[in-house]
C-alpha cells in the first residue's frame, strides 16, 4: 500500500500532467531550401467584412491565378482574440491578419507568429523598402514576426466653408494656431452651451486619443527596454498643458454635454459630417466616409499641427497599420509565407489593394506609385504624412495597448478635474504600465 507521501506525489504528477496536457507546446518547422516551390492549401484569416472583404477576395484570386499550385481558403471577420485562442489550441490559421499594431508585441513575444527572418533572408526580401516607422511596428525585440499590410495614417481635417466664414485662410500649423482657430470657429448659444466646437479637445472623443496627438509634441510612450517613458517625457506635460487650457476655455461640463449630443463616429451623423465640429484629427479612411455620407461638406486635409517650439516638425502625423504573419501552428508555412510575400512586397498588389480598400500603401515603392490615390489631393496629404520623418507610431509592447489605455484612463480623469501639475499622475501611470509589463513575463 503506497504511503501518504507517495499518494500525494502521484496525485501531483497526475494533476501537473493534466494541466500541461491542455497547454500548448513548442514546435517550429524548418525552412525549405532556396528555389523550392510552395504548394498546397493555405488557410487565411482576416478581420475585414463587406466591401473590404470583397477587396481581399479579389487580391487572393489574383494570387491563386499567379500561384496555381497554392489554394487559399479565406475566412473573414476573424478577430485577434479568436486567432490567438485558435493558435493556442493548435488550430490556428496558416496566415493571420491582425487589425492593429498593438498586437505585434504579444504575437512576436509569445511566438504565436513565426519569426519570418529565415524566409526573408532566404528569398532576399529587402526590408529597406519599408519606411522606418513601418519597420518598427512590425517587429518586436529583434523578432520580425509580421509584415505590414497597408497602413492607416492620421492627419488633420478642416471644414473649408467654416474656416472661410471665420476668416481663416489656412489650416493651423501649430498648437497655438489650433487654439486660436478653435476659439474663432466655436459658436455658443445664449446660455453659453456649445452649438459648434471649432475643435473638440477631449481625449477619448472620436480619434482624439493620446496616441494620435502625441506626434504633435514628439511625446514618447516607452523606453527602449519596454518600460514606460510617459512620466519622464516633458513632451506629455506640454501636450496636457495645451489640451487642458483649451478644455477649460470651453468648460469641461459644456464640452461633455456637447459631446453627448453628437452622433456616433462611425455613422453618417459623425459631428464633422454634420458641421458640428469644424476641425478634427482622423485617419485617411474618413475621406471615403465624407464623400459617401456628407457630399455637401467642403473639407480639406492637412498634417497634424505641432508644438510651437518645433514648427519644423510640421508635415507629420500618426501612422499605424494592419499586420500579417504566419501562425506557429501553420500546417503549410511555406505556402503561407508565399502568400504574405505576395501581399506585402509586390508593388502592383499593394497598390491595387490600397486603391480598393482606400488605405495607405505600406512600402516605399508602392508609395511612389500609388495609382489613383496619388491623384486625389486630399489623399495625397496622407501619403505625404506617411513618408514624413516626423510621423510616428505607438511602439510594440508585450502587453499590447496596455500603456496607451493606462494613460487614457488617467487623462479621462485629469481633463475632468481642476488641472494642475499632472506629473505625479503620469508617474503613477508609469508604475501601472511597468507592473503590467512584468506580469506579462
Amino acid at each position: 500500500m503506497p504511503s501518504f507521501r507517495r499518494k500525494i506525489s502521484i496525485s501531483s504528477v497526475i494533476v501537473a500532467l493534466a494541466l500541461s496536457a491542455c497547454t500548448p507546446g513548442q514546435a517550429e518547422k524548418p525552412v525549405a531550401s532556396p528555389g523550392a516551390e510552395a504548394s498546397g492549401t493555405v488557410e487565411f484569416w482576416h478581420f475585414f467584412t463587406d466591401r473590404e472583404a470583397t477587396a481581399i477576395d479579389t487580391i487572393v484570386a489574383d494570387f491563386k491565378a499567379a500561384h496555381p499550385k497554392i489554394d487559399v481558403v479565406v475566412k473573414s471577420g476573424q478577430d485577434d482574440t479568436k486567432m490567438l485562442q485558435a493558435i493556442g489550441a493548435g488550430q490556428g490559421p496558416d496566415v493571420g491578419l491582425s487589425y492593429s499594431t498593438d498586437s505585434v508585441g504579444k504575437l512576436c513575444a509569445s511566438g504565436a507568429w513565426l519569426d519570418l527572418k529565415p524566409y526573408i533572408e532566404r528569398d532576399g526580401v529587402d526590408l529597406a523598402k519599408l519606411p522606418p516607422t513601418v519597420r518598427s511596428y512590425t517587429e518586436f525585440k529583434g523578432r520580425r514576426c509580421a509584415m505590414p499590410f497597408l497602413a492607416d495614417t492620421y492627419g488633420f481635417y478642416f471644414n473649408k466653408t467654416l474656416l472661410a466664414e471665420a476668416g481663416i485662410t489656412a489650416p493651423p500649423k501649430t498648437l497655438t494656431e489650433l487654439t486660436d482657430a478653435a476659439k474663432k470657429l466655436t459658436k455658443r448659444k445664449p446660455d453659453g452651451t456649445i452649438e459648434r466646437a471649432g475643435f473638440l479637445p477631449l481625449f477619448g472623443f472620436y480619434e482624439h486619443s493620446p496616441s494620435h496627438l502625441a506626434p504633435a509634441v514628439g511625446a514618447r510612450f516607452l523606453n527602449d527596454d519596454g518600460t514606460s517613458a510617459i512620466g519622464s517625457d516633458p513632451a506629455w506635460l506640454e501636450l496636457l498643458r495645451w489640451q487642458k487650457e483649451l478644455v477649460d476655455w470651453y468648460g469641461f461640463d459644456k464640452l461633455e454635454k456637447f459631446r453627448a449630443s453628437l452622433g456616433d463616429e462611425w455613422s453618417a451623423d459623425n459631428a464633422f459630417h454634420k458641421g458640428q465640429i469644424a476641425m478634427m484629427v482622423d485617419g485617411e479612411y474618413r475621406i471615403a466616409f465624407l464623400r459617401d455620407q456628407a457630399k455637401d461638406v467642403k473639407f480639406g486635409t492637412a498634417p497634424l499641427p505641432v508644438s510651437d517650439a518645433h514648427p519644423d516638425w510640421y508635415g507629420g502625423g500618426y501612422v499605424t497599420g494592419n499586420i500579417v504573419g504566419v501562425s506557429k501552428t501553420a500546417k503549410n508555412p511555406e505556402a503561407a509565407w508565399e502568400l504574405i510575400r505576395y501581399l506585402t512586397t509586390d508593388t502592383g498588389t499593394i497598390v491595387k489593394l490600397a486603391n480598393l480598400i482606400k488605405n495607405v500603401p505600406s512600402t516605399i515603392d508602392a508609395l511612389a506609385t500609388p495609382g489613383e490615390l496619388g491623384n486625389d489631393p486630399d489623399f495625397k496629404v496622407f501619403l505625404d504624412i506617411f513618408a514624413h520623418p516626423h510621423t510616428s507610431t505607438t511602439p510594440p509592447s508585450a502587453v499590447g495597448p496596455a500603456y496607451e489605455e493606462a494613460l487614457a484612463t488617467f487623462l479621462q480623469k485629469y481633463q475632468a478635474g481642476p488641472g494642475g501639475d499632472p506629473s505625479a499622475g503620469l508617474k503613477d501611470v508609469d508604475k501601472q504600465i511597468d507592473q503590467l509589463v512584468r506580469l506579462a513575463g
Partner: protein
C-alpha cells in the same frame, strides 16, 4: 449507483472541477495562451492587492450588486403583483412586460442608450417638454451606473415571470384566513405572500448576485455607444469604463488583462477571486436568507 451517475460525474469533473483547478494553477503562472505556463509564485496575487484598476472595478461592481439586484427584484415583484391582479387582458400585459427580456443584451443596450441620449434622445426631449432638464445619463459619471440600473429594470421580464408564477401559486385560502383574522394588505404581504414565495426570492437573489458580479455586456456596450465610438475590434476596450471609469466592472478588467494585454496568469487570479466571492456570497445567502423573513 455510481455507474448510473458516472456520465454526470464525468461531466462535472471535466467541465467544472478541471477548469477550476486549472484556473487556480494558472493564477500562479505567467501564461499567454501560446506557450507553456511558467510558475511565478505569488506575483499575480501580490499585484492584485495593489492594482488600482481592481479597486475601481470592484467598487463599481459592488455598487451594481447593492443597487441593481434589489432594484430588479423589487421591480419584478411589484410588476408581478400588479399583473397577478389583472383578470381581463392579463395575457397581453404579461407579454408586454416580458417582451424586453427577449431582446438580445447588445441590441437592448444600444437602443436604451439612444433613447437616453442627451440632447437628441426622446427621454430628455420629453423631460424638456415638461420643464425638466434631463441629466447626461450614460455620459455622466454620476448617472452612468443609475442608468444601467434603469436598463436592468426595463428588462425585468425574466424575473417578473418567475415571481408571477410564484404569486399565482400562493393558496387563496391563506389570504382569506388572514383577512378573517383582521390582517390588512401589508400584513397579508408580510405573513402570507413573502413566506410562500421565499424560495423564489432566494433563487432570484442568488442568481442576481452571481449575474451582476459577472456584469459585462451592458457595461461594455453602453460605454462604447455613449462615448461616440460604437465600434468593435481593435480599439474596443479603450472605451470600457466611459465616462471616467464609472462603468468599469470587474469582468471588464479581467477580459482586458487576459485577452487584450495577454496576461492570462493574472486574469486567472482575478477569475479565482471572482469565483470565491460569488461562492461565498451564495453560501452566506443560502444560510441567512430565511432569517430575514
Amino acid at each position: 449507483m455510481l455507474s448510473f451517475m458516472a456520465p454526470v460525474l464525468l461531466g462535472l469533473l471535466v467541465f467544472l472541477v478541471y477548469p477550476l483547478v486549472a484556473s487556480v494553477y494558472f493564477s500562479f503562472t505567467t501564461f499567454d495562451l501560446v506557450n507553456t505556463p511558467r510558475w511565478v509564485g505569488l506575483r499575480n496575487w501580490q499585484h492584485l492587492l495593489q492594482d488600482p484598476n481592481v479597486r475601481t472595478a470592484t467598487a463599481n461592481t459592488l455598487w451594481l450588486v447593492a443597487v441593481l439586484v434589489p432594484a430588479r427584484m423589487l421591480g419584478a415583484l411589484a410588476t408581478g403583483m400588479l399583473l397577478a391582479r389583472f383578470k381581463r387582458g392579463a395575457g397581453i400585459y404579461r407579454t408586454l412586460f416580458y417582451l424586453p427580456a427577449l431582446a438580445p443584451p447588445v441590441a437592448a443596450t444600444l437602443a436604451f442608450v439612444f433613447l437616453f441620449k442627451p440632447g437628441t434622445g426622446p427621454v430628455n426631449t420629453l423631460l424638456a417638454d415638461i420643464g425638466i432638464q434631463g441629466p447626461l445619463w450614460f455620459n455622466s459619471p454620476e448617472w452612468a451606473k443609475p442608468s444601467l440600473v434603469l436598463l436592468g429594470l426595463w428588462g425585468i421580464g425574466d424575473l417578473m415571470i418567475i415571481f408571477l408564477a410564484a404569486l399565482l401559486d400562493v393558496p387563496k385560502e391563506q389570504y382569506e384566513a388572514a383577512s378573517l383574522d383582521g390582517a390588512n394588505a401589508a400584513h397579508q404581504f408580510r405573513y402570507v405572500t413573502l413566506p410562500n414565495i421565499a424560495p423564489v426570492l432566494l433563487f432570484a437573489a442568488v442568481t442576481g448576485v452571481i449575474q451582476t458580479l459577472q456584469y459585462f455586456t451592458q457595461a461594455a456596450v453602453a460605454a462604447s455607444v455613449a462615448s461616440g465610438q460604437a465600434t468593435t475590434g481593435g480599439g474596443i476596450s479603450s472605451t470600457f469604463g466611459y465616462p471616467e471609469g464609472s462603468t468599469f466592472t470587474y469582468p471588464l478588467w479581467l477580459y482586458v488583462v487576459g485577452f487584450r494585454y495577454g496576461a492570462l496568469g493574472y486574469a486567472n487570479a482575478l477569475a479565482v477571486v471572482l469565483f470565491v466571492v460569488a461562492a461565498a456570497v451564495t453560501v452566506v445567502m443560502l444560510r441567512r436568507f430565511r432569517s430575514f423573513l
